[in-house]
Amino acid sequence: MTVTQTTTKSDADAPAPVEKEHLRRLLATGERPAPPSAFTSARAFAWRSMLKIKHVPEQAFDILLFPIMMLLMFTYLFGGAIAGGTGDYLQFLLPGIMVMSIVMTTMYTGMSVNIDINKGVSDRFRTLPIWRAAPMVGYLLADVFRYAAAGAVMFGTGLVMGYRPEGGATGVLLGVGLLLVFCFSFSWLWTWLGLITRSEKTVMSISMSIMFPLTFLSNIMVDPSTMPGWLQPVVKNTPISQLVDGVRGLFDGNVSTASVATTLIWSAGFIAVFGFLTIRAYNRK
């Protein structure tokens, strides 16, 4: 005979009763402090995101394992065919694949924003007297930490596989810095999408249909000069290709200022346009 033990959520672990006297005292002392600064409130939201990583560690796998998989797969799958050897190809591929896998993970931000809205927690945030952009900026700040971690993991894996950056430590740090600036700015597209779409599934499918062409039609895997003539100008001028040029140049120690400048202009543009749309959508929700 088996004994099944059932635990119900409701009364099995019944909470202690409400202490009315204590409650009264708290109500009497609940004066409003001065509202937090924009920075403090954004930092509080960033702390919240970090706590989520602690409580839902599964999401770290996505962020850390996915990039390693991409790096290994593409190096050994295409290396021989494209560059005649995996060593040379890794040298070409690493900066690009780092951009690709990290920029791809930015779409999770849009899903998180959407989940907050559907779960009702953002109602609470929206009735608080805080800087309106704070929840989004908080998300993005915590995400920048995650991207930096993913970048470090990929770079470490690359070193083990034989990657050697000509640009030295400074070049690598500047390259990763440029990538993080771009990701932070580009993510405002996702926060906006997260606010205006109905479900996280919609966010996901729209994000995918933007990210796939944008990352594959680029100079990440192959040199655009191997592509048909009509396609080349398109591919060379997407923000992702410009970013990859900049990061690759910084890693290799032969950076062209034009690609870095173009990337920064794109970044400013993303913040200006989608930052504005995000805040407008947030206020009108």
Binding site: K9, S10, D11, D13, P15, A16, P17, V18, E19, K20, H22, L23, R24, R25, L26, L27, A28, G30, E31, R32, P33, A34, P35, P36, T40, S41, A44, W47, R48, L51, K52, H55, V56, K119, G120, V121, S122, D123, R124, F125, R126, T127, L128, P129, I130, A134, R284, K285
Partner: protein, 319 residues
């Protein structure tokens, strides 16, 4: 009533969602320092009204002031006076109860140590200390609701919106929420509470607005509303089925109202005419039955149900 004694004054609030008029011209005057009940069935427009008044939705038409501040042009100032406990717990389920309250305390402007202190105090007052380190997704409905209310009084609001605070709770949790509401009002906060239950509005609110299909269809004190709506009911279960005919005769004579036989062969229900006190009529009826030697197993007084309120106010039965 003068402007300054009003927590909320709303005129002609309208909100459409595509083709649906969710709120269709709602007027409200909520006196400060009281519990005001907004009573109505699902889909009546209660939540939409509350969301507009809490600055979460922009009305399509109409205007409102909260403690004299304009809802639209002075939204930031309204936000500094109100708190909202939504129908679906507005908490982060991945975080623990303690972390939720610390986060929100920080966002209200408390420094780090003060935020931790306030969070711990609130958890204790709400009987949640033991669960403070658990993720909110593991909380029961009643615990979640309490944490949600705790989050709404991190800073004591002048006006607290409670959107269906007891829907889906067991009776004990419901009573605890009622106690909390009474305590909060006792300390001077105005509460606007939406509910589907007449009993809840009756227990807590000093005035009630009945709302249906986006409009206020009746307004007044619970007493006024009930007497205008009328009929309470008295239900009797007899010991012997063969005494039912006799019992019916006695009740018809003793009470102002009609007496119907239930499907249950030992039970019958008397509906009272409007304007009669259910308790007085009930004890009178019970005395008459005893005098006639009829054995009664069970006897209960019923308030008019929300269905009856709607039937009486709108002339239709609301599902």
């Amino acid at each position: 009533m003068s402007q300054r004694d009003l927590a909320i004054r709303a005129e002609g609030l309208v909100k459409h969602f595509k083709d649906v008029k969710a709120v269709d011209g709602v007027d409200l005057e909520v006196p400060a320092g009281t519990v005001y009940g907004v009573l109505g069935p699902n889909g009546a427009g209660k939540t939409t009204t509350v969301r507009m008044l809490a600055t979460l939705l922009r009305p399509d038409a109409g205007n409102a002031t909260v403690f004299g501040r304009d809802l639209i042009s002075d939204a930031a100032s309204v936000r500094s006076q109100v708190s909202l406990t939504g129908q679906y717990a507005s908490l982060d389920e991945d975080l623990t109860g303690f972390e939720n309250l610390v986060l929100l305390s920080r966002l209200y402007g408390y420094g780090k140590p003060a935020a931790r202190g306030r969070a711990a105090d609130l958890l204790e007052a709400f009987g949640l200390t033991a669960a403070s380190g658990k993720q909110v997704k593991a909380y029961s409905g009643g615990m979640r609701r309490r944490l949600d209310i705790a989050a709404s009084i991190i800073v004591t609001p002048k006006l607290l919106f409670l959107d269906e605070p007891t829907t889906g709770l067991d009776p004990r949790s419901r009573n605890q929420v009622w106690d909390v509401v009474r305590t909060i009002v006792g300390e001077g906060t105005t509460v606007l509470l939406t509910t589907q239950y007449l009993e809840e509005a009756d227990q807590l609110a000093s005035r009630i607005a009945v709302i249906d299909t986006g409009k206020v269809i009746a307004e007044g004190t619970p007493g006024q509303l009930k007497s205008s709506v009328g009929a309470g009911s008295i239900r009797v279960r007899l010991h012997h089925a063969d005494q039912r005919g006799h019992a019916q005769q006695i009740l018809v004579e003793a009470l102002a109202g009609e007496v119907a036989l239930d499907d249950d062969p030992v039970a019958l229900t008397a509906r009272l005419a409007p304007g009669h006190d259910t308790a007085v009529q009930g004890s009178h009826a019970l005395g008459e039955l005893a005098r006639a030697g009829i054995l009664v197993d069970d006897f209960s007084l019923g308030q008019p149900s929300l269905d009856e309120v709607f039937l009486s106010l709108t002339g239709k039965v609301d599902a």
